[in-house]
Symmetry: C2
Subunit: 121 residues, 2 copies
């Protein structure tokens, strides 16, 4: 799969894909002419990158995980630790957001009341 096809399938721009490669998030083999050759396996990998990113993991941290991944099976315990740490962070953030949502709801209700009052003075 070329970079263009891969870009379409993943929704990540070719610029970003090359950037990710440069940052060592993805390792992509080349054909005899030097063009990047992507495989199906990489699709799952970049989608996982996407999810880590969306949940607040920085590229630098993702790079650490990627580095371990490309080092082979012996790094599994380390990778597990990274994922567990991230899991806890996401859980914590979700708890915080839960409170923020309640807060927002209160504020919305307050606005609705005030607007109702001002409607019929």
């Amino acid at each position: 799969m070329t970079i263009g096809e891969f870009s379409k399938k993943t929704g990540i721009s070719v610029y970003t894909l090359r950037y990710y490669e440069d940052k060592k998030l993805i390792v992509v083999p080349r054909d005899e002419k030097g063009r990047r050759v992507y495989t199906q396996k990489e699709i799952e990998w970049v989608q996982f990158i996407k999810r880590l990113k969306e949940t607040g993991m920085k590229l630098q941290e993702i790079q650490k995980y990627a580095g371990l991944r490309y080092k082979g099976e012996k790094t599994m315990p380390e990778r597990l630790e990274l994922l567990k740490k991230h899991y806890d962070i996401v859980i914590e953030q979700q708890k915080k957001w839960e409170i923020y949502l309640q807060n927002l709801e209160q504020k919305i209700l307050w606005y609705e009341e005030q607007i109702e009052k001002n409607k019929t003075p």
Copy 2:
């Protein structure tokens, strides 16, 4: 309250507070010598800004809300709309995160299994 005291109370650096003022997120009156005078009311306001920011609202969007806020009561319906929109976005993000968390959990379990297998080959 001076900018230094306000910074301590809110946990936001004086640099950032001045930056926020520059970006019109906060409007701060001055004393006769030109120094910023912060009030208790502003504490709640910047803490609300913090929450909006943490839940993914950009400063530009927060500026819109701030602008309306400083325009007075007549802008309440517009502010309500902004908050409702943001509420929906946060809810959506939380749903997505819920799935990502399940995904992460699966991955963590998979790693734990693999590591257990490799322990006793």
